[in-house]
Structures are given as structure tokens and as C-alpha cells.
């Protein structure tokens, strides 16, 4: 089976029902997307497929249908981080950091669709991403900051 991740094409020999998450992690050693629950409850596995945030633990590799996959490793430009990543660092969001790849991928996709979100918009878009450390207040602040950066860019 062939797939494109972060602009690179790969060939893997796995069963078609294997979730994209595990193909990325164990077959391709792309470990930014994390295993947290396996049932779309935590969002730690979030990646982009054709620019949209999806839970990679729920997408069977056989259903990828040529979709281009971007993981947290491929979010930044070669010489500069994505505005969401910059905002995350400025606001010192991460604690354990395990959920943050998923949070950042979710936020980046969301800001693509809604460049000027309200607090309520953020609540709706981000509440399926679980953080056990409780970094939510800074996630909210960082998304507003990233939105501003993207507007000014």
C-alpha cells in the first residue's frame, strides 16, 4: 500500500484495516501523532488528511484513498514554525506535551476554516481534544494569539 506523508511517498505492507495512526508510528517511525485511547475520545492522534484534521486512530489505511497526510512533523515550513506552534511556545502551553501534537494539528486546521474565532468557537472546535495536565487556559490564549499572527501574515 502506498501513502504520502509530509510530502514523502511510502510503501507499507500491512492489512488494510490497520489504522493510519499505527502505520505512521510503528511502520514509518513518525511518532508525533500519539496513541491515547484508540477510540476517538482524546484527539492525541490528530493529523491532517488533505488539510483537514482527522483522528488517525479511526482512519483505516485502506480508506485513505490517496489522501495526503500531514503530521505535526510536517506542519512547519522549512525555516519557520507554523503560527500555531509559535503561539504555543510563546504561551508555554505544554506540560507533559503528549496531547499537544494533536491539539496543535486540531487548532491549525480549525484556524484554517475559521480565522477569527470567538471563545465559543474555540470551545466547540477544541473540546474533543483531551488534556489531562489541564493546559486548556493557555490553549485558548494561544489560539487567539495564533489567529492574530495568521491575520497579520
Amino acid at each position: 500500500m502506498r501513502l504520502t506523508v509530509n510530502g514523502t511517498e511510502y510503501e507499507v505492507d500491512v492489512t488494510p484495516d490497520m489504522p493510519l495512526l499505527w502505520v505512521l508510528r510503528d511502520e514509518l517511525n513518525i511518532t508525533g501523532p500519539k496513541y491515547g485511547c484508540g477510540i476517538a475520545q482524546c484527539g492525541a492522534c490528530t493529523v491532517h488528511v488533505d488539510g483537514l484534521a482527522v483522528r488517525s486512530c479511526q482512519l483505516a489505511i485502506g480508506d485513505l484513498a490517496g489522501g495526503e497526510v500531514t503530521t505535526i512533523e510536517g506542519l512547519a515550513q522549512p525555516n519557520s514554525l507554523h503560527a500555531v506552534q509559535e503561539a504555543w511556545i510563546e504561551h508555554q502551553v505544554a506540560q507533559c506535551g503528549y496531547c499537544q501534537s494533536g491539539q496543535i494539528m486540531q487548532a491549525a486546521s480549525f484556524l484554517d476554516l475559521n480565522p477569527t474565532p470567538t471563545d465559543e468557537d474555540i470551545d466547540t472546535a477544541m473540546s474533543a481534544n483531551l488534556c489531562r495536565c489541564g493546559t486548556y487556559p493557555r490553549i485558548r490564549a494561544a489560539i487567539h494569539a495564533a489567529a492574530k499572527k495568521l491575520q497579520e501574515a
Binding site: 500491512v14 511556545i89 474555540i122 489531562r132
Partner: protein, 753 residues
């Protein structure tokens, strides 16, 4: 036996040892020097300066032995060394190093001391200094008890200062000038004429001279990093780019992947199993029975997903463990033990004459309970283990590397010196990674595939059902109010013993004596109540349990403060004013006053179905007060705003301390509102985040944090934010609705937005 004073002083001495091509320094073990772990693999021309700093011609390595579970310990340990060494920690290599006795944690046992944290008398300090020696003798390299900063505050700055002065001395000898005429900056020694010599260039010279150990630590006013707002965590960028490698991310050449299904009735046997379907599934290499840790059946496969799928397909017949099958039976046992002579365990608070007061006045009684709680960090348990003929290598995120080393030696039949534990960054713990069942299992699996690295990953379901949770408990409170004041508080808590359950798993030894965790967080509060008694009752052993963020105070903070709030209400007093009147500890009073000012406190009612609650708990030496504001909406309780004030003595990383405090509040509310483990057929019914849901972003209130520095000394901040949150929320809900919540999770009794 040296005197207590001598031991306490020597705790901080740095000794030295000459080695081939270099010099190294180690801490003393009472009268005996601890061998320096860096000596074993030093190359020619390398200088190891203290067990915390290593300098070679290639670069500077800072060794930060306390585990990082997300609380920022690697970062603050690096800054503590760097502050004295004069180097940007982001320009160094940072590693926890290999676990060693030299990294013993002298502060971890002080929370169990029989003295309340507000007691600063000489006698109290003497007892604490003895407690600091115990971990040293028992090789306890533990991360826990919010102890990293108090334990490392002097040790690491001392290490940085010794290294700096020794490098300066090496430069002084090379240049033929006095050491006093040299200065240091950003990894260089600066000569009187402004010329710079890199530390790396001085490594070989420094190896050949006597270390400079007579150092004076800098005045905090001179600090460049510590205490400064906006200090960037050293791990932040890696965590925002996917570059951070946690234990679960580790990949070794030729590695195979394993998963396991073990008996959810922990301690019960594996009677029989049928793996016929699992063996035929894709990618499966081998199915094997595992006896170490907790009996079960493991699958080795070509990736984790294949292993988990096959492990799910194994049909197991489990034997019953040695505890009751259901939560209902367990709570019956807890209730049966309260206030009985047979179950009496410990009474550390007994002021006035409670019996006399209760026999005379009108007694108010209330009964409380809290459930078992899983830690459920985002990263499930995992370990990579490789066993060869002469060594065992273990890569795992852990708070207890030396216990793991010793247990792996026992399982594999090797000597402890042949076991190497490589501690990995941890994706959350909250106490979960004080356990090692997964490592025991991984060692046994890897022994069956000698030479091949095996990565064992627990599924979320395996993790949730083998969590070693926070113990459930019940509390019976009796109290009397008189003349508008709280007069009598009598609290009886019944819980199974937690510390012996955990320590027994780690060491095979039973801790004798009472279990202080049954009442920590309630007996040790800084209040002067005329008749005031707190008693711990020890219920029989139930499901095996462990430490959960803030340990005893996680439940006792709720019991003590909520019951106090009930009595204050009965007395007709203001919740904040009466707490302040009763509080006899100046820094704690200041914390309460400050949270009152921040929240604009003018009583519990905010009108229109809105209310606020205040709560206080002194835990881990940190007085912490919180105010939470709620609205009773038609869709349930909504959390509007929270205020946190804590006093840590001295704050080293203000931004991270703030994050730990609001994170602690959110973690506490996650469970206070909607989480519990309930047992049926010996196993928790909750298996994943869908039925053990933490707080989500939309439920999180706006939070304001203020940190004070009036307490003596310096304390850690990872846990103290947890205990006051549940009572502050419950008290707020009472203010808004008149409904008193005496059992967690609260959503069993009231709806939330």
C-alpha cells in the same frame, strides 16, 4: 551513629575522587562516599565535575535525575545548575543519566513526617532532618511528593558553582592569573583582558586539578534565570514540533512489539487461556503466558496494533483476587471500620476535649465518601526491554528507576549492576509511573526473545483496568457551633492502607505501623478550633492502590474543608471570615486574605442563581486557597471563574508554577465532577476516556493565579493545587443551589453544563 546535626550537614557535602584522566565529585552517604556513577564511562581528557555536570571537549552535559512527567522538572533542574554554572541550558545536552544511589531524594519522605508543615520549631526540623537520611540509606531515587525543587534547590546550584569555580581555577592556572580575577559568562571563562575560553576547552585541564568546593551560592538578587517571568521551559519547542521522544516513541533496530491482557482482578491467577485465534492473526510472532507483575497473556507481533488486536482475541479464564468483587462490598467494609476500636490506626490531632463537647452540645453530623480514581495519564504504560546473556536494558518513563532495576535483576536472575534503566520523558503520570507492573511483564517477555528489543505497550483499556488507583474512603464528621463560631470538629476517616499496598509491590516488604495517608490533608491544617480531632481508621485491604496526585490530601482536603464549610454555614458566619478567624498560621492567613481580595469576596452569594465557594488546604508545605464561582443554569452547573493563591516560599519559574497550579485545579475538578472507578466482578467497569472523562476545554473556567513567597524555605508546586479545588466547587454549588455535595463525583447528585 553520627549525630543528627552531622548527618544533616553532610547531606549537602560534595566529596571528590581522583580518576584516570579526570576528577569527579559525589555526595556522601552518611560516613561513606557514594561511588560516582559518571566515573565508569569517562573517556581520556574528560572531566566529570559532580554527578550533575559532565564536560568534554564536545560539550556540556547537565544531569537532571528527577523524572519529568510534564511538571517541568527537567527544565528547572537544568536552570538550577545553569544559574551557577553560567551557561544557557538550551546550549547543553540534558539527560536524566543512569539511576544511581548518588541521586537519592532526601525530601520525598518529609511529607509523612509527624509534624504539620506549619511547625517550624527546632524539634520539628530535627525530626525532618532524620527523615531526610532514610531515603539515602534505602537507595530511594524517587520522583514524587512535590519534592524535586526542595530537594534539588541547593544540591544543583552547589554542583553548578563547584563546576564553575573549578573551571575558573583551570583557566587561572593556564593563564597565570588569580582565579578571583576571572569571571564566567555563557559557557566561557572570561580573562581580565576580555579573552574568552570555552568550558569545553578547559575540560582536560579541569580534570587534572583539585576541585574548588569552597563555594558561596549567589544571592537570588543576582539570578539571571531563576525567579524570572517568561523563563522558557527547555522542553517546550520539542513538545510543540513532535520532536519530543517519549518512552512509547522509542524505536530500536530489530525491535518487536508486544501487548498484553492481564488479570483485571489484580493478584488473581491466570487459570487457563485459549490463544488459538490470536495465533493466526496478522503480524503475530508469538503468544506467551507471563507470570511476572500480574499474570496474563502477551502477544509479540510486528507492530503494536497487531499485538493489541491479537491480545484482545485471547480468551482468558481468570482466578479471583484476594479482595471483594464489587464497589458496594468495598464501601460496606469502609463504613464498617469507621469509629471502631479494632480499625483505629492513627490520631495526630486531638485538641481540647472533643468527647466532652459532643456530649453537651447539639451535634451536627454528616457522612462523606470518595471513589477509587484512575490516574489515566495520556501516555499509557510502556517499556522497551532488551535482554542478552549478560545484561538487561530497560527504556521506560518512570519515577522509580532503582526499584525497577532491582526487580528486573530479580526476574532475570542478573545482578543489579547488569541492569540498565534508561529513563525516558513521560507523557503524564499523576503517580501512575510510581508503579512497575508493565516493566516486570516486559522483562519476562524480552527474556523469551533474548537479544531482541521488545516494546510492550498497554492498550488504554489495559492501562485503565490495571491502574492501581487512588483509594476510596469514607468520612464521618461531627461538629458543634457555638455563638456564631465553629467550636468542635471531629473527623473520622476510614480507608484501606495505601502506602503499604504500594511499597509492598515495590519491595516485597510490609511497612509496619499506621498509614499516615489516611488523614494527611485533614489532621495537619493550620486552624485553632477549641475542640478538634482527626482520626484515621484502617479498613481491610481492598483493590490494590497507589499514590494519586496530592495523595491523602486529594480526599482529605475535600472532607476537611467541606465539613468546615458546613459548620461555618450552621454558625451563620461568613465562609472566608470564619476560616481567617480560625487560622493561626500567618502565611496561610495571607493566602486566604489574598484570594479574598482577588475574587472581590463579599459573601458566598452572587445573586441570580450564582454562588462562590472558598476552600483551603495546606499540603506538601504549601498553603493553597481557591475561590470558584458557578452559575446554576437550566442546563446544569456552569463553572465561571476560579482564583488560586499559593505560597511556595520562593518561586523559581513563575510561569510554570502558575501552570502547575491551574493544571492541578483542572485535574482535581475533572475527577470531582465526573470520574470514578467502580468495581464489578473484581475489575473496574471504566475502561477508556468515554466513561472516565476528564474536564474538557469548554467546561474550564477562566482561572487567575497568584503565588506568594512568605513561607520559609522552598516547596514544590506539582500537587498543592489539587486538594482545595473539589471543596471550593462543592462549596460554590452549595452557595448557588443550597445543595450540599458530600460524595464525589458530584455528577451523581447534580448536573453540569
Amino acid at each position: 551513629m553520627p549525630s543528627v546535626g552531622k548527618i544533616a550537614r553532610r547531606t549537602f557535602l560534595i566529596g571528590s575522587a581522583a580518576i584516570a584522566g579526570g576528577v569527579a565529585f559525589g555526595a556522601y552517604l552518611v560516613n561513606r562516599p557514594i561511588p560516582n556513577p559518571l566515573l565508569d564511562d569517562l573517556g581520556e581528557g574528560e572531566a566529570a565535575i559532580t554527578p550533575f555536570v559532565k564536560i568534554t571537549s564536545d560539550g556540556v552535559t547537565l544531569i537532571t535525575p528527577r523524572a519529568d512527567k510534564g511538571q517541568g522538572s527537567y527544565s528547572i533542574q537544568a536552570y538550577l545548575i545553569a544559574e551557577e554554572l553560567d551557561i544557557d541550558p538550551n546550549e547543553t545536552t540534558r539527560t536524566p543519566g543512569l539511576p544511581d544511589q548518588a541521586y537519592y531524594n532526601s525530601e520525598v519522605a518529609t511529607e509523612g513526617s509527624p509534624l504539620p508543615a506549619y511547625d517550624e520549631s527546632a524539634a520539628a526540623e530535627t525530626i525532618r532532618s532524620v527523615l531526610r537520611v532514610v531515603p539515602k540509606l534505602f537507595s530511594v531515587q524517587i520522583t514524587g511528593g512535590s519534592s524535586t525543587v526542595p530537594d534539588m534547590y541547593e544540591k544543583l546550584r552547589n554542583a553548578g558553582a563547584v563546576a564553575r569555580e573549578t573551571l575558573k581555577e583551570a583557566a587561572a592556572q593556564r593563564l597565570g592569573v588569580a582565579r578571583a580575577d576571572l569571571s564566567t559568562q555563557d559557557g566561557h571563562v572570561i580573562a581580565p583582558d576580555g579573552a574568552k575560553i570555552a568550558y569545553t576547552d578547559l575540560a582536560a585541564d579541569a580534570a587534572g586539578i583539585a576541585p574548588i568546593t569552597d563555594v558561596t551560592l549567589r544571592d537570588p538578587k543576582e539570578w539571571r534565570y531563576l525567579g524570572k517571568a517568561g523563563l522558557p521551559r527547555t522542553d517546550m519547542e520539542a513538545k510543540c514540533t513532535g520532536a519530543e521522544k517519549y518512552g512509547i516513541d522509542l524505536a530500536l533496530d530489530g525491535m518487536l512489539f508486544a501487548s498484553i491482557c492481564a488479570n483485571p482482578g489484580i493478584g488473581g491467577a491466570l487459570e487457563s487461556f485459549d490463544a488459538s485465534e490470536a495465533e493466526t492473526m496478522p503480524g503475530v510472532k508469538r503468544v506467551l503466558e507471563v507470570k511476572a507483575g500480574n499474570p496474563g497473556v502477551a502477544v509479540i507481533a510486528t507492530n503494536t496494533w497487531y499485538a493489541m488486536q491479537a491480545a484482545n482475541a485471547v480468551v482468558c479464564n481468570w482466578g479471583a483476587p484476594n479482595y471483594p468483587a464489587t464497589s458496594a462490598e468495598m464501601f460496606d467494609l469502609l463504613e464498617a471500620a469507621v469509629d471502631t476500636k479494632d480499625a483505629y490506626d492513627l490520631r495526630q490531632r486531638n485538641d481540647g476535649d472533643v468527647e466532652a463537647a459532643l456530649s453537651e452540645g447539639e451535634v451536627f453530623e454528616a457522612q462523606y465518601r470518595i471513589p477509587f480514581l484512575a490516574h489515566a495519564p495520556m501516555e499509557p504504560m510502556n517499556a522497551v526491554v532488551q535482554v542478552t546473556d549478560d545484561r538487561v536494558d530497560i527504556w521506560t518513563g518512570t519515577q522509580i528507576p532503582l526499584f525497577i532495576r532491582d526487580r528486573a535483576a530479580l526476574i532475570s536472575g542478573m545482578d543489579a549492576e547488569q541492569v540498565f534503566v534508561h529513563v525516558q520523558p513521560i507523557g503524564g503520570s499523576f503517580g501512575h509511573k510510581l508503579e512497575m507492573t508493565h516493566v516486570e511483564q516486559a522483562v519476562e517477555i524480552a527474556m523469551a526473545e533474548k537479544g531482541t528489543p521488545i516494546k510492550l505497550t498497554w492498550s488504554r483499556e489495559e492501562d485503565m483496568t490495571h491502574d492501581y488507583p487512588r483509594p476510596a474512603s469514607v468520612m464521618h464528621g461531627r461538629g458543634i457551633v457555638k455563638d456564631g463560631r465553629v467550636d468542635t470538629v471531629d473527623i473520622s476517616v476510614s480507608q484501606q492502607a495505601m502506602a503499604p499496598s504500594w511499597f509492598g509491590r515495590l519491595t516485597g516488604m510490609r511497612i509496619p505501623g499506621p498509614d499516615p495517608t489516611i488523614t494527611t490533608g485533614s489532621w495537619d491544617q493550620p486552624f485553632a478550633i477549641p475542640n478538634y480531632r482527626v482520626t484515621g481508621y484502617r479498613a481491610p485491604d481492598l483493590a490494590p492502590v497507589s499514590s494519586w496526585r496530592s495523595v491523602g490530601a486529594s480526599g482529605n482536603g475535600f472532607y476537611h474543608d467541606t465539613f468546615l464549610d458546613e459548620l461555618i454555614h450552621k454558625a451563620g458566619a461568613d465562609p472566608l471570615e470564619e476560616r481567617l478567624r480560625l487560622c493561626m498560621h500567618a502565611p496561610s492567613r495571607k493566602v486566604l486574605e489574598t484570594v479574598g481580595e482577588m475574587s472581590g469576596w463579599d459573601g458566598p452569594s452572587l445573586g441570580d442563581g450564582r454562588g462562590r465557594g472558598v476552600a483551603f488546604c495546606l499540603s506538601f508545605g504549601v498553603p493553597t486557597a481557591q475561590v470558584i464561582e458557578v452559575t446554576n443554569t437550566e442546563f446544569g452547573i456552569r463553572l465561571d471563574k476560579a482564583y488560586i493563591v499559593a505560597d511556595v516560599g520562593r518561586v523559581l519559574d513563575p510561569g510554570n508554577a502558575e501552570a502547575q497550579l491551574f493544571g492541578g485545579l483542572i485535574y482535581a475538578l475533572s475527577h470531582a465532577i465526573n470520574s470514578e472507578l467502580t468495581y464489578e466482578d473484581y475489575a473496574p467497569l471504566q475502561t477508556n476516556y468515554h466513561d472516565y472523562e476528564g474536564l474538557r476545554l469548554y467546561q474550564t473556567p477562566e482561572i487567575e493565579v497568584k503565588i506568594l513567597e512568605n513561607m520559609p524555605g522552598i516547596r514544590g508546586i506539582g500537587e498543592p493545587g489539587v486538594p482545595p479545588a473539589a471543596p471550593a466547587l462543592g462549596n460554590a454549588i452549595f452557595a448557588a443551589t443550597g445543595q450540599r455535595l458530600r460524595e464525589m463525583p458530584f455528577n451523581k447528585h447534580i448536573g453540569f453544563v
